[in-house]
Amino acid sequence: MARRLLAVPPIFVGITLVTFLLLHVVPGDPARMYLGEGAQDPRVLAALHREWGLDRPLPVQYVDYLRNLVRGNLGFSIHSGRPVAEDLRHFLPATVELSVLSFVLAVALGVPLGVLSGARVNTGADHASRVGSLLFLSMPSFWFGLIVIYVGYFLLGWLPSPTGRLGMTDTAPSPVTGLYTIDSVLAGDPGAFARALWYLLPPAVTLALPSLGLVVRMLRTSIVEVLSQDYVRTARSKGVASRGVLYRHALRNALIPTVTVLGVQFGLLFSGNVLVEAVFSWPGIGGYLVQAIQWLDYSAVMGCTLLIAGLFVAVNVLVDFTYAVLDPRVHYG
């Protein structure tokens, strides 16, 4: 395990290097974006280049970035006009809330469906859940989001407006964690909690479906596999009731590979957000990143990818731990 952890810092340096290089390959000048469309004074432009160090050689700029990063300084965002760290702190809760809820939905619905499917292979229920989960995996989530808005909000008027975390006239609960659902509970306001959840639901469901599909498939395959293993057959022959077999033996072993997939999925949810957030006007990291890329907002893009990739790596490490706990046979040198 220690070895696994030691591998993390170099990966981070790699992430910064790749992002930095990619960004500087993009033709364009952030200083001009900052000064806006229309007439510009070249002297002001030159002054900005000097101030931001854009006139210096790339390696120097990169080392400077790393040096600031180590000090916890992520730089200044030209499209929001704020420090990147402040922006990330501001936009992260919306993304976390969305990711966590869609993850919970994917697991809460996916595990029972997967178990059902695996325990009753080749029945109607199995076929239905297999095809369903494949369909979920096969559709572009941004497209499904649009359809959800069109049918649910526009045609039927059942769903909340796609205005982000709250409606026009709602006020956000006083910020403690930045997660509206938690903050409203802390404030003891059930109405606000219901509203926050209501607005979360459409994007969360949209985001959850592909992961749900994946969970169902993984679990089904694993359960089928485990149920055909010798020790399960042995247990069965010893007269253990089949429900007991399923839960005591099969599920635990089947969960091992599923946990891996779930972990990866959870990490991916943060990036799957990018387009779904845009479709639902969700004020999270995804929308911030897309805008930052378009604006050539170097510091903001660096900050976002570091954060997203960082979470992704952290989740993967965590998954490895869980894996080791669930399966005592796994050891890390």
Partner: protein, 540 residues
């Protein structure tokens, strides 16, 4: 200039423009969330915008949206006036006194004396005095961003004299016929409170003030309220406003980057106003009795720029062929739903000296082919037309031009470029052709100088890299001319030359288009693009 469309008028326009049936299709089946008659939140306007201000320092902002917004918080000495047309209030490009009670100009046209209005107070309580004016104008010259670079050709801090606590005189270095127009812009003329600025770091050359970029202290009818990044920002009424408290208590700007969502919310009455909807979106509101569409011709041209320095567009015949090949009426019908005013000059229609009768072109594909053949491209030509990805109006223009050019043997590749790369590329002249529709101040000298003077080539505004020494000379001459008749003559001369050279393909006047619920009253659009919430109220 401003046209407030009635339902019937709009139905007529579109029916004529795009064939019967369109309007009914656009009516859609959406149930409005609100029953007629009941107005939700009568003292709050919800305003849908797709941007957020980067900066609130009035002398350092360079984007139009922030400028128009801040003009509700900060105020200049002079401002664009309204007039009554058929019982309706419309905005004009005429400048009149605002924080100044009156302005007198000396005989030689160089000295401007401003007599200040009494009882004007900053939100923090300090009064507006002549010293404040001197401080504010000096600060604008020191920060030196935006139009300040133009105004500094005519004045420096030494030009400003405090005559008495209520009187300021500015003595220009030369005659500047558009001095008051320049002062009417937020980022040149805004009055700031010296005490507040100095208490938070003062003024630095070429830079905004950190505190001022997040906070405000103006004299306007609204104060800055809460700001939740990425979600909303708001105005709160200034009850101590010198002309009386505004009718609205709050103006809430909702940040929604998706136009379709904005449109949806407006239709359902959850938004009251939507900021500059693209034409294809606005057209979907035609026939909706609950929505009023305000449109005006902005000071700018929706046009296809061509890179004048390089092949094939360095040949004037090729550029003229493009103008003949692209039918502006067809693009107006298709991309702007007939809502725009067709270009009939290289100048937008709102500018002094605009003369449509000089325009020699009309749609003629055969003439285009002949010109191309003459230029040596009888076997066809490959070009590429860029637009910034996500801008549907520009994309539609590029795609329609592409289809039109195919008819004259020109194979055009259309490319959507991400915003940042797009801006840098057009300023550096790296794209052969691209669609752009920028806005400028309603000052012809400024417009000509920025767009057509060879000294402005590149980032300063001449994105076509157009270079005609004769035009340069005439523009320089115009900058120093005050006599209206002489100016008219020079502008006509310039217009003839640039019309012949067509550095770009003008399609139609840049559109300023806003849609609001019909219960929003008193909302007026100005050719400069400005809008003010002071007279606005919500009622049936």
């Amino acid at each position: 200039m401003t046209a407030q469309f009635t339902r019937r008028a709009l139905l007529r326009t579109t029916a004529a423009a795009a064939g019967a049936g369109l309007a009914t299709r656009y009516l859609g089946a959406a149930p409005d969330a609100l029953a007629a008659g009941s107005i939700p939140n009568p003292d709050t306007v919800f305003y849908g915008v797709y941007w957020e201000p980067v900066n609130l320092d009035p002398h350092a902002i360079t984007d139009w949206g922030s400028m128009w917004m801040l003009d509700n918080i900060y105020e200049p000495l002079v401002r664009y006036q309204t007039k009554q047309v058929n019982g309706k209030t419309v905005g004009t490009a005429e400048v009149g006194p605002h924080l100044a009670e009156n302005v007198t100009v000396s005989k030689d046209g160089k000295a401007y004396t401003f007599r200040l209005r009494q009882g004007v107070k900053f939100h923090s309580g300090d009064p507006l005095t002549a010293d404040v004016v001197k401080y504010s104008l000096t600060r604008m010259l020191t920060v030196n961003l935006g139009p300040a670079t133009l105004i500094s050709k005519f004045m420096d801090p030494g030009s400003i004299t405090v005559v008495d606590p209520r009187t300021v005189r500015v003595t220009l270095k030369g005659v500047c016929p558009f001095f008051l127009e320049l002062l009417a812009a937020t980022n040149t003329g805004a009055m700031v409170n010296p005490k507040t600025v100095d208490a938070h770091g003062g003024t630095q050359p070429g830079k905004f003030n950190e505190w001022m970029s997040r906070n405000t202290d103006g004299t306007g009818p609204f104060k800055w309220g809460q700001w939740t990044a990425g979600q909303q920002f708001e105005f709160v009424a200034n009850d101590q406003y010198w002309a009386g408290a505004p009718k609205l208590k709050r103006v809430v700007f909702r940040v929604i980057t998706d136009f379709a969502t904005q449109l949806l919310l407006l239709k359902r009455g959850e938004l009251d106003i939507v900021y500059r909807l693209p034409p294809d979106m606005t057209a979907q509101l035609i026939g909706n009795p609950d929505v009023v569409i305000s449109r005006d011709n902005g000071i700018g041209m929706h046009q296809i720029y061509m890179q004048n320095r390089t092949k094939p567009f360095d040949d004037v015949r090729v550029r003229q062929a493009m103008v003949y090949a692209v039918d502006p009426f067809a693009i107006n019908r298709a991309a702007a739903f007939g809502l725009a005013t067709i270009a009939q000059s290289m100048l937008p229609s709102g500018l002094e000296g605009y003369t449509p009768s000089l325009w020699p072109y009309k749609y003629d594909p055969n003439k285009a082919k002949a010109l191309l053949a003459e230029a040596g491209y009888s076997k066809g030509l490959n070009v590429s037309i860029a637009f910034n990805a996500g801008n549907t109006e520009r994309e539609q223009t590029a795609v329609l031009a592409q289809a039109a050019l195919r008819n004259v043997g020109v194979d055009a590749k259309v490319e959507g470029i991400p915003w940042g790369t797009f801006v840098t590329n057009y300023q550096d002249g790296k794209m052969p052709a691209f669609v752009l529709s920028g806005l400028e101040l309603p000052i012809v000298d400024n417009y000509l100088n920025n767009l057509f003077h060879s000294k402005s080539a590149g980032a300063k505004g001449n994105f076509a890299f157009y270079n005609n020494p004769q035009v340069d000379r005439l523009i320089d001459q115009l900058l120093g001319t005050a006599d209206p008749a002489a100016r008219k003559q020079i502008i006509t001369q310039i217009q003839r030359l640039i019309n012949t050279d067509v550095p770009s393909v003008p399609i139609y006047n840049a559109l300023l288009m806003y849609a609001h619920r019909s219960w929003v009253k008193g909302w007026v659009l100005f050719p400069s693009g400005n809008w003010y919430f002071y007279p606005v109220e919500k009622r049936a």
